[in-house]
């Protein structure tokens, strides 16, 4: 419960200056927009258009299929050319491909939103329909999260501008250049969530962003919104860690932040909300950091959702040097991209084209010396060394007891391990094995039910046949002369 003197974590070298040297570049709409039905939240949306349908900018293309999927809107005007499998950031997935006619005709539904006149629940519904998703990386629907906050009667809206990953700086650039949008978005989300105060949390290694946000908050004259500068420690930008650092209260591991009266949103999400109320644009664009020594002119670019990574890199002067790998997301939590044909999704904050000079190769793995550095660095307060021992032998009960599910895969344990043990990789694999077992269990459960119903059906059929036989015999008997 008590606040820690300093947030727990590590301090990797920041690599943000290259991309921050240039202002945000607004990219032209792509010739083909590739809309992934799974925008990164885990559940694919359901398309509501067919191949050949004409669409306008902002036309609804897919509707949410579950609480964790979002509405998708056409980021360009034109015609649906295909609904097919395309490479995505996480493997292949179904995409709606729209050919841009270049006319940028707006859908009739794209109109400024008079949010001040809307009651909270209606505002939430409209916000959800606009497909606003968490732009910090999880792409969880903002409307669903804010609705849960409203139900739980939260008091604080926490705007996450911490951005602790060493390469990512799209939020930093956004706060420097569009601070007023963040403040407007905060006001709309305060109205939607029913919270009565808003804290904008920014790491203190972003003085320009802090200055710009302070000016914008003062200009808005809204006493509910305050700014907090926090020490720059990775992974402070993780939701639970940020809440811990700002409020001094830990979110219980099996609950969500509204349980302690807080709802957290990314500053980029706030800006997306602001654009939506100002212009009516649904969430069809986002800012992506394109950086790494393998990119000629690193920058933050604002691209339509569905622009490919190749187009982002081309807009930044193309590849240079010998890029060894493309990383989607930051260096700490990102994943290697197999191809630059993957499209921008609502959850993609950063693309790193890394060369040998960016990557420090992990040395050969040596045995664990039980130094305990990983436990001291773990921001989720787990014991990575113990978890690792359990993961090696796939001790399911032990992993559950040690809190594998609470691992946020931030990579701090990896970063400090003097033996070069790929801890997070092992934890991810252990989580995947657990998921597989859980699915097997669910399937077994279903098969058990189906088998029981099968047996009951066979018994009922046999019984019916016996009755029919008896009936036929009884009817046949009176006529029997014998």
């Amino acid at each position: 419960m008590s606040a820690l003197p300093r947030p727990v974590g590590v301090r990797p070298d920041a690599r943000k200056s290259a991309a921050l040297a240039r202002p945000i570049a607004v990219l032209a709409a792509p010739e083909f927009a590739v809309l992934a039905l799974d925008q990164g939240s885990g559940t694919a949306s359901v398309p509501v258009v067919a191949v050949g349908d004409p669409v306008r900018l902002g036309t609804l293309v897919a509707r949410p299929a579950a609480p964790d999927s979002v509405s998708l809107h056409a980021p360009v005007s034109g015609r649906v050319r295909a609904i097919e499998q395309r490479p995505l950031v996480h493997g292949d997935g179904l995409c709606v491909v729209i050919e841009n006619d270049g006319a940028e005709r707006l859908d009739t539904a794209v109109r400024p939103v008079g949010w001040n006149g809307l009651a909270g629940p209606e505002l939430l519904e409209r916000l959800h329909e606009a497909g606003i998703a968490g732009l910090g990386g999880a792409a969880f629907p903002a409307g669903v999260k804010l609705a849960a906050a409203r139900t739980a009667d939260v008091s604080m809206l926490l705007l996450n501008g911490a951005e602790c990953e060493p390469w990512i700086c799209c939020d930093d650039a956004l706060m420097r250049e569009r601070a007023a949008d963040v403040v407007l978005g905060a006001q709309v989300m305060l109205a939607a969530s029913g919270a009565d105060s808003c804290v904008v949390a920014i790491e203190d290694d972003k003085p320009e962003a802090v200055a710009a946000m302070t000016t914008a908050i003062d200009a808005a004259g809204d006493a509910r919104i305050t700014l907090r500068a926090l020490p720059a420690v990775y992974p402070l930008g993780a939701e639970r860690q940020l809440i811990d650092a700002v409020t001094g209260r830990e979110v219980p591991h099996d609950r969500l932040p509204p349980a302690i009266g807080v709802v957290c949103q990314n500053v980029g999400t706030a800006a997306a909300v602001a654009r939506w109320v100002r212009t009516g644009w649904p969430a069809i664009a986002r800012i992506v950091t394109v950086t790494g020594s393998g990119v000629a002119e690193p920058a933050n670019v604002e691209a339509r959702i569905g622009t490919t990574v190749a187009q982002l890199v081309a807009a930044c002067g193309g590849y240079c040097g010998e890029p060894l790998s493309l990383i989607a997301g930051g260096a700490m939590t990102g994943r290697a991209l197999g191809t630059d044909a993957a499209p921008v999704t609502k959850g993609l904050a950063c693309v790193v084209a890394a060369t040998a000079s960016d990557l420090s190769p992990r040395g050969p793995e040596r045995p664990c010396i039980r130094c305990g550095d990983c436990s001291a660095a773990c921001p989720a307060y787990l014991l990575p060394q113990q978890l690792h021992r359990a993961a090696l032998v796939d001790d399911e009960a032990g992993l559950a007891r040690l809190g594998l599910a609470d691992c946020i895969e931030c990579g701090c344990c990896d970063y400090v391990c003097p033996s070069g043990i790929p801890l997070v990789e092992r934890f991810r694999a252990a989580k995947a094995r657990k998921l597989e077992r859980d699915i097997d269990r669910l399937r077994a459960e279903e098969a058990r039910g189906r088998h029981e119903r099968h047996l009951r059906r066979l018994a009922a059929e046999a019984e019916a046949e016996r009755r029919a036989f008896d009936e036929a015999r009884r009817r046949a008997r009176p006529a029997d002369p014998g």
């Binding site: 459960e445 098969a447 058990r448």
Partner: protein, 182 residues
């Protein structure tokens, strides 16, 4: 002087032992673990393929046989080593490899009907323990891949041998989706 002080101590110890023994005896008879719940717990660890390779007609009968001490825990090839481990932990028995007399553990597979050869005889329908085959007499049958447990019980009744077990990853898309195409 020592005898008079020793005697009550021995008596108290004897009385306590008798009381504890009686309590334990009563507990052992009254609070006996429900044999039904043991069957449930064993059944929960079995893979529910209902394949009968253990020589019992389904997972539940095998669970009942294990609970009754009639069958050992090494008879389930689909469950493989993981199931033997889980059963050994639950029942506090030594871990042993799956008895190959009942089958050899392998990757999960599902049944797939070759549409070119299926004659629509419907003989495989009642054989499926989880009703995962859709079909009717003189109509093409298909296996619902998501519900197939790979038990192989549909193979023997098929008169034209048009069903085979495949790696689930290689399963062709459901017939219904291809039917509309020329």
């Amino acid at each position: 002087m020592s005898e008079p002080t020793l005697l009550p101590a021995v008596a108290i110890a004897a009385a306590l032992s008798a009381a504890a023994g009686a309590a334990l005896g009563w507990a052992a008879s009254r609070l006996r673990p429900d044999p039904g719940s043991l069957v449930e717990r064993i059944d929960a660890l079995l893979p529910q393929t209902q394949c009968g390779q253990c020589r019992y007609p389904g997972c539940r009968p095998y669970a009942e046989a294990i609970a009754a001490g009639e069958a050992d825990i090494d008879r389930c090839p689909p469950g493989g080593t993981a199931t033997v481990h889980a059963l050994a932990t639950l029942l506090d028995r030594p871990v042993r490899p799956v008895d190959e007399q009942y089958g050899i553990p392998g990757p999960a597979r599902i049944a797939v009907i070759d549409e070119e050869r299926c004659i629509g005889c419907a003989l495989c329908l009642p054989a499926c323990p989880v009703d995962a085959i859709v079909g009717a007499p003189r109509l093409l049958h298909t296996v619902v891949a998501a519900q197939c447990t790979g038990c192989a019980l549909c193979l023997p009744p098929c008169p034209v041998d048009c069903i085979e077990l495949q790696d689930p990853g290689n399963a062709p898309p459901p017939v219904a989706r291809r039917r509309g195409q020329p």
